[in-house]
Amino acid sequence: MESGNMRYLAPKTVTEAAQLLADSDGIARVLAGGTDLLVQMKAETIAPDLLVDIKHIPGMREITAEAGGWRIGAAVPGAHISEHAGLKADWPGVVEAAALIGSTQVQGRASIVGNLCNASPAADSVPALVAADARVQITGPKGTRDCAVIEIPVGPGKTTLQRGEIVTAVLLPARTGIGADACLRFIPRTEMDIAVCSAAVNVTLDESGRCSAARVALGAVAPVVLLVEEAADILVGSRLDRATLERLQSVCSKAARPIDDKRGTAEFRREVVGVMARRAARLAAERATAKAGEKA
């Protein structure tokens, strides 16, 4: 790995961590799971002068119930998320999306905050976080703020985070009514690939079983995750029947703005992202209906 003058620090508070990042006069990076960062360091695409390991800060490795929803610390690894029954009951789509990131080994380290801040257009967990309308909490030199997940990435490798700012947690909202989410991605193998395209759908059902609210997000078909409001509008008011889902598929395909690359053609991505959206919507609907059944 790169030259030997990199410093590694493991502060015990967020404020201290933010200060270290802000004060650094070279390239400084936050280290949580490190599953993207260490790969970039090995490839010499980045040579940080300072790594700030946030795993020793209290709360960073915890999942806690908060305001009816959930707070997921910035360094919680995917494996921990998958094991959390409460989170899984409320946000099965977010949990399955987090589980998509890398292998079992990567799951032992990789965090959804890292996945978000790496700002890859193909990030596995981001469409589900956007569909869930998740927010992130951020601490920086000027204090603490929070913002919607969708506002973080602005392009491949680029985020809106300011110098010295650290994302400390993902906040998943409380579920209102009966709802569920689902996330699917397309890859050529069954595991270990970067998403060729992906889709996450989050639906809420009213008492009659109609969709009362929905969010649909697409991954790897644009420089950033796409929130497709037109797709959500199609779902709202429907019973998520076959015809509706087929319209959803077509709208999602149209909304996609993919490129050709080594992982797939634009044409393929446009077509398949619609399929993923339709299937994810059906899965979300099935989950929500099952929950309605449990309550009834």
């Binding site: 050529p188 193998r189 595991e191 270990m192 690939d193 970067i194 080594k262």
Partner: protein
């Protein structure tokens, strides 16, 4: 005659499944691979590689790098300037560019330093002045008139006038009257099929530890399939006699043909020589993909004529392979193997080797055969579909068998193709029902199998246990099979035999572990060495008993009088004879040196079921069964393992593996993330059926089994996908975008 080697017998050890002798070390982490060795004072070597696919190297300034604290040596092509000619020159130029960088990743300089960090820093200080030249990475473009000349001076006299200078050789095989054959056909189909370049994908990157003394004597530790060949190449490159260089083969973390040559070894030796200290040089995965030896990509025209009742009347193929910037003979193997499974009255194949700005190809399991047979087996299936014939019946009808004049010349002796086809036909898999979007495919496969130069030394130790010293790195469990053959021949338990792989100074020459030759050739030599030792053991027993040597026979690990006339003595076990050996003439051993001939060809048939997602083009392998002739399976577990491993490599080739070059001539996917080899969750069980049609050229009937298994999957999967989606693809890999496109275009 080698043909008469085989004799039928009942086996005690052969065919059983003992624990492999290297197993414990491998499950405990003790086994030492290429990158695991250390020496005191060892330096770290690192290689600077060209970012350009084709460039003239105007100059290299290494002064700043050499001046960096901790840098102990720098080498460039200038250090390798005195290599004479032929393949060794090519190997040297591939290991370190002389005056031209010929592909993305071609080595242009290297350093040895006290740490990896210093070595990396030093590479950044090397200034290479490149004159970037036009490049070409694809076959058709490289063959086109006016194509950039990749590497001049390799055109053989076999190439007719009018070809681009990138076409270096033409190979032709066949017999019979094609025109008359095609005229007799009821249906003729001609197609062009393409396959992408793939990599062996061994998990252990190429690695070595070199130590050259100031007296010109050296030691080299490396992961290789053939350390004698490594010695030959490196000694010639270093300008020293072979005996001055001792090469030790480490445990090898996969080779599949890719480790039959050298890449970093000469560089490490040169660095060590200049630094006066040992140098370890380990490739990164990125370097492995960019600058070791992937296999060829291919374009193949196939034309086959068939009668309404399924008899092939004529068959023709033109094969065009590219294997990078240096010549190779892989297309020749393809041209020889393409129609090997068929009994044909009229057949012709022509192969062209084409140079491109890609890394120098190396062998990959049955080199040249998978793509050729993929093309043929695809067209045969298409004919069956067009004529409404059962593809297995058609193959049986046309199958090569004993007495068939093969498409590459010789007449086949005992071969197992018909038996494997019949086994497939009788298997429940062939008749199992299929669901929607599912399809079944089959394909034949073939490999020649090699014999070759082999030395084996077998010593009976003082307690009667036995050491077998062989010289072929164990890539698939050969120490187990070699020890089993020694135990069988001596009539002693497997556990009393230990087989080791010796370094180049400790045993006579051995050819590379290639061509599925080891169980056949080293096994043959081991059996002969054991027979020599048995003869000596009998002689010693005769001495102990005071009877005539000819009156002693060997049975179940003991010397026995050969009959009542010989005298009445209790059987004398090997350990008693061994203990007394100092009194009867000294140590007891046997050895055998041979250029083994008579390797028997191996045929296989694979059945594959797939399900294709019609909305995404994703293919799932549902069921897979292999039928292959092993001659005689020495250790059936590892015979199955060879078949399964080969099949899965072929499945990867069929579905997702490919070298992807950008317009800029750079490799786009030099890592396991985007070079997609099959993972455990991609696959079902891989079932195996071993057929045993003895090879007359081996005492136990052994045929090589390592390579045939990679051949059938390409067409078996493709035929299954075609069956599932109702349309055919003519290109590998059948990645989802291609399948979806084929479905849409129907």
């Amino acid at each position: 005659m080698a043909l008469d080697e085989y004799e039928k017998r009942d086996f005690q050890v052969i065919g059983s499944r003992p624990v492999r002798p290297d197993g414990i070390d491998k499950v405990t982490g003790r086994a030492l691979y290429g990158a695991d060795a250390v020496l005191p004072g060892m330096l770290v070597g690192k290689v600077l590689r060209s970012p350009h696919p084709h460039a003239r190297i105007r100059s290299i300034d290494t002064r700043a790098a050499a001046a960096l604290n901790g840098v102990r040596a720098v080498v460039t092509g200038a250090d390798f300037g005195e290599i004479r000619k032929g393949e060794t020159r090519n190997v040297a130029e591939n290991a370190m560019a002389f005056d031209h960088a010929l592909y993305d990743g071609h080595a242009v300089a290297a350093v040895a330093a006290t740490s990896e960090a210093v070595a990396r820093e030093a590479l950044k200080l090397i200034e290479v002045d490149y004159e970037v030249l036009p490049h070409v990475t694809e076959i058709a473009a490289a063959m086109a008139p006016g194509a950039p000349v990749v590497h001049a001076g390799f055109v053989e006299d076999s190439v007719p006038d009018g070809f681009s200078e990138n076409v270096t050789a033409r190979h032709e095989f066949g017999h019979g009257d094609l025109e008359a054959g095609f005229a007799r056909a009821d249906k003729v189909i001609a197609r062009t099929l393409k396959t992408a370049a793939t990599h062996q994908g061994y998990i252990e990157p190429n690695a070595c530890l070199a130590s050259m003394g100031p007296d010109g004597r050296g030691d080299l530790w490396c992961c290789t399939q053939g350390h004698y060949f490594v010695r030959q190449l490196c000694a010639e490159i270093m300008g020293i006699e072979e005996s001055r260089l001792r090469v030790t083969a480490s445990e090898i973390g996969g080779g599949f043909g890719g480790k039959t040559t050298v890449f970093v070894e000469p560089v490490a030796l040169m660095l060590s020589k200049k630094a006066g200290a040992p140098v370890k040089l380990v490739m990164s995965r990125n370097e492995v993909f960019r600058a070791s030896g992937p296999t060829v990509s291919s374009e193949i025209d196939v034309k086959i004529g068939m009668t309404r009742d399924g008899r092939i009347t004529a068959a023709e193929a033109e094969l065009r392979y590219q294997g990078g910037a240096f010549p190779n003979i892989t297309v020749m193997f393809g041209a020889m193997a393409a129609f090997a499974a068929y009994d044909l009255g009229a057949v012709r194949t022509v192969g062209y080797n084409v140079l491109t700005n890609r890394p120098k190809q190396a062998a990959y399991r049955a080199p040249g055969a998978p793509m050729a047979i993929y093309a043929v087996e695809s067209v045969v299936n298409e004919l069956c579909e067009e004529l409404g014939l059962d593809p297995l019946e058609v193959r049986l009808k046309n199958a090569a068998r004993k007495g068939t004049k093969s498409s590459y010349g010789p007449t086949f002796n005992d071969i197992g193709l018909v038996a494997t086809l019949e086994a497939a036909q009788a298997h429940p898999h062939y008749r199992a029902p299929l669901g929607p979007n599912q399809g079944r495919g089959l394909s034949c496969g073939f490999w020649f199998n090699f014999g070759g130069n082999t030395s084996v030394s077998l010593s009976v130790d003082m307690d009667g246990s036995v050491s077998v010293t062989e010289g072929n790195p164990d890539i698939g469990g050969s120490r187990a099979s070699i020890a089993m053959m020694a135990a069988e021949e001596l009539g002693i338990p497997f556990e009393r035999v230990r087989a080791i792989v010796a370094d180049t100074a400790s045993l006579g020459h051995n050819d590379v572990t290639d061509g599925s030759r080891v169980t056949f050739a080293v096994g043959l030599a081991t059996i002969k060495a054991a027979r020599a030792a048995k003869k000596e053991l009998c002689k010693r027993a005769a001495m102990m008993w005071g009877i005539d040597e000819e009156a002693v026979t060997w049975e179940n690990g003991c010397a026995k009088p050969s009959g009542p006339n010989a005298g009445s003595f209790e059987p004398l076990p090997i350990e008693k004879i061994a203990r007394k050996s100092p009194r009867t003439g000294g140590p007891i051993a046997g050895h055998h040196e041979v250029n083994a001939e008579g390797a028997g060809v191996s045929f296989g048939v694979h059945l594959c079921d797939v399900e294709v997602d019609p909305e995404t083009g994703h293919t799932k392998i549902l069921r897979y069964t292999i039928f292959q002739d092993a001659g005689k399976a020495i250790h059936p577990d590892y015979v199955e393992g060879q078949m399964q491993g080969g099949a899965v490599q072929g499945i990867g080739w069929a579905l997702n593996e490919e070298y992807i070059y950008g317009k800029d001539g750079r490799l786009q996917n030099p890592g396991f993330l985007d070079y997609r080899i099959p993972v455990a969750s991609d696959l079902p069980d891989i079932d195996t059926v071993i057929l045993e049609i003895p090879n007359p050229g081996h005492p136990y009937g052994v045929r090589g089994v390592g390579e045939t298994g990679i051949v059938p999957p390409l067409a078996a999967v493709s035929n299954a996908v075609s069956h599932a989606i109702g349309t055919r693809l003519y290109e590998l890999p059948m990645s989802p975008p291609k399948i979806l496109k084929a479905i849409r275009e129907g």
